[in-house]
């Protein structure tokens, strides 16, 4: 880090051995004022997202809207088919036989809700993403195995190559690297 290249970089990445050190570092970085940063872990750790100031996701709302739309379209499909397009008198039952339509309505609610959960989660996460700068750090492959990373991005107003690097080195990090674009 002594001779920083002058090309613009994506950010500064610190590697940790265990989740506790990563959480402590994330909390320190947040309280120091860094906001544009992200942590990378091999399995979900609730506390880290909290420490990054990321408290709420919009996934549940998307699922709710999807499920309601699914249920409505399921019922309307059956209503339109059975009462408008192809009315068929079966043993004198009303064309709009709502109790018989509940099951398909329920299934469509689940189907649309489930698809919205997956598509919504992927869309909010920006996946699929074929390229991302964090993979330029050769040590980053361990993020899907047994290491924990914190990356403070250059886009953060407080970011400075030298001072951010020093800050991260002082946080029990095993390794601190610049991440190129």
């Amino acid at each position: 880090m002594t001779e920083a290249p002058m090309d613009p970089i994506y950010g500064m990445m610190a590697e940790f051995d265990n989740p506790t050190d990563l959480l402590a570092a994330t909390e320190r970085a947040y309280s120091t004022g860094y906001r544009k940063m992200d942590a990378y872990t091999p399995y979900p750790i609730e506390e880290i997202a909290e420490a990054l100031g990321f408290h709420k996701t919009r996934v549940p709302l998307i699922v709710l809207v999807g499920a309601i739309l699914g249920g409505m379209s399921g019922y309307l499909l059956q209503y339109w088919v059975s009462a408008i397009s192809y009315p068929l008198n079966v043993g004198g039952r009303p064309y709009n036989s709502w109790p018989a339509f509940i099951i398909v309505t329920f299934e469509m609610t689940i189907l649309f809700g489930g698809i919205s959960a997956v598509v919504g989660m992927l869309a909010l996460n920006g996946l699929p993403m074929p390229y991302h700068p964090v993979f330029n750090n050769p040590r980053f492959a361990a993020a899907s195995r047994d290491k924990f990373f914190l990356c403070i991005e250059a886009a953060d107003p407080k970011f400075d190559r030298v001072s951010t690097g020093t800050f991260l080195t002082g946080l029990k990090a095993v390794d601190v690297t610049e991440v190129t674009h």
Binding site: P44, Y86, S97, V104, F140, R145
Partner: protein, 471 residues
Amino acid sequence: MKQGPEETTIVEERLLPNQAPVLESGHTFGSVTDKIGAIVLRRPVTLGWAIGVLIAFGGLNVLGLAVTYLFFRGTGIWGINIPVGWGFAIINFVWWIGIGHAGTLISAILLLFKQSWRNSINRFAEAMTLFAVACAGMFPLIHTGRPWLAVYWLFPYPNSMNVWPQFRSPLIWDVFAVSTYGTISLLFWFVGLIPDFGTMRDEAKSPFAQKVYGLLSMGWRGSARHWKRYESAYLLLAGLATPLVLSVHTVVSFDFAVSLIPGWHTTIFPPYFVAGAIYSGFAMVLVLAIPIRRFYGLRDMITERHLDNSAKVMLATGLIVAYGYSMEAFFAFYSGSPYEKFMFMNRAFGNVYGWSYWLLIATNIVIPQLLWIRRVRLNTVLLFLISVDVLIGMWFERFVIVVTSLHRDFLPSSWGVYVPTRWDLATYAGTITFFFFLFLLFIRVMPMISIFEMRTLLPESKVKEEVAAHD
């Protein structure tokens, strides 16, 4: 989704005496990753696996032959005829779809109940669900004999005849229930695999494998924000899949219960079908898990505890099924209907199919009572045999329900006997081999145990709160 270390089931010192842990001690993040990943990435193809695939592939060709001949000649090659218009096709459909139910129970319902022992068996149980639904779904499509002429009454699409499906019919409910179930199971399985595909991408040595797993992982990088949305979506999917799985076999039972046939028209069907589905599903989970843990050396991840727990679920659901049978018998007499009474007497003591009822009682109710004994639950050979026995028993349950109810109609003039033909048997055996063919391929190309969920079982996965607070 806090699943793991703080629960008493994991940490060894908190275990009850004689209780096996969910994951044997000595594992680290790295060793868990290596052990599961190596089965796909490093392990050479073994002779046993190759022979298994070869046999399964042979059976798959039998299925292809049977279905081709069916499409060529029509359903006349099967044993069905009036009055028994529903034969092997519906029996096998219900049997397969039931087997699938345990996968969803393990992945969704046990997740919501925070049963962290599910983490080592949910992945292959979900795969089992998918392949079982694939086998099940084949039967409604082929049972028409001319599927390309018969889709308009299954799916609502604008067709040249301007007719639409009959939404008051349980058969259409079934189409929607099963296709939704298949889709949601696929999504659940794939979402669970995304982070593990990322791990496989990073662990793979060959550039081809790196590219394939990289594509499948969609660029997953384990960001904390992504994990948060991921967990939210995963839990919501589990919450949606839970009522779904209960609804699927309920709707399957409506195919029978909504009709007016004695032996079918009963309100006990939905709950006892669901229990029976989970019963046979756990039997299949054990049939798969016992050889897997032996041949792939996974006894430290699929421990005695998993076998014990699965056996207990089997025992409990088997007892619900036993209650269902006794209620069926009770209501046959309590109804006061002579047809219902006759149906039951004929089902149990009729000279054509009486044997199948007692075979059902023996395989499904009597033999599984051995599971009360702890030593039997922990004896893998016995447990495997009992699981196979339950699978046979659950098949006979559907045989008894379908065939004995139909073969004696209200009028003796329309009585008949159903005998399956070689094509019925070939199609059924073909789907069994198809199932194992898919499963054998699956265990060699995808991590069969969820790696990231196994990491959460390790004590080191937990943030040490007091250290974090003072740092």
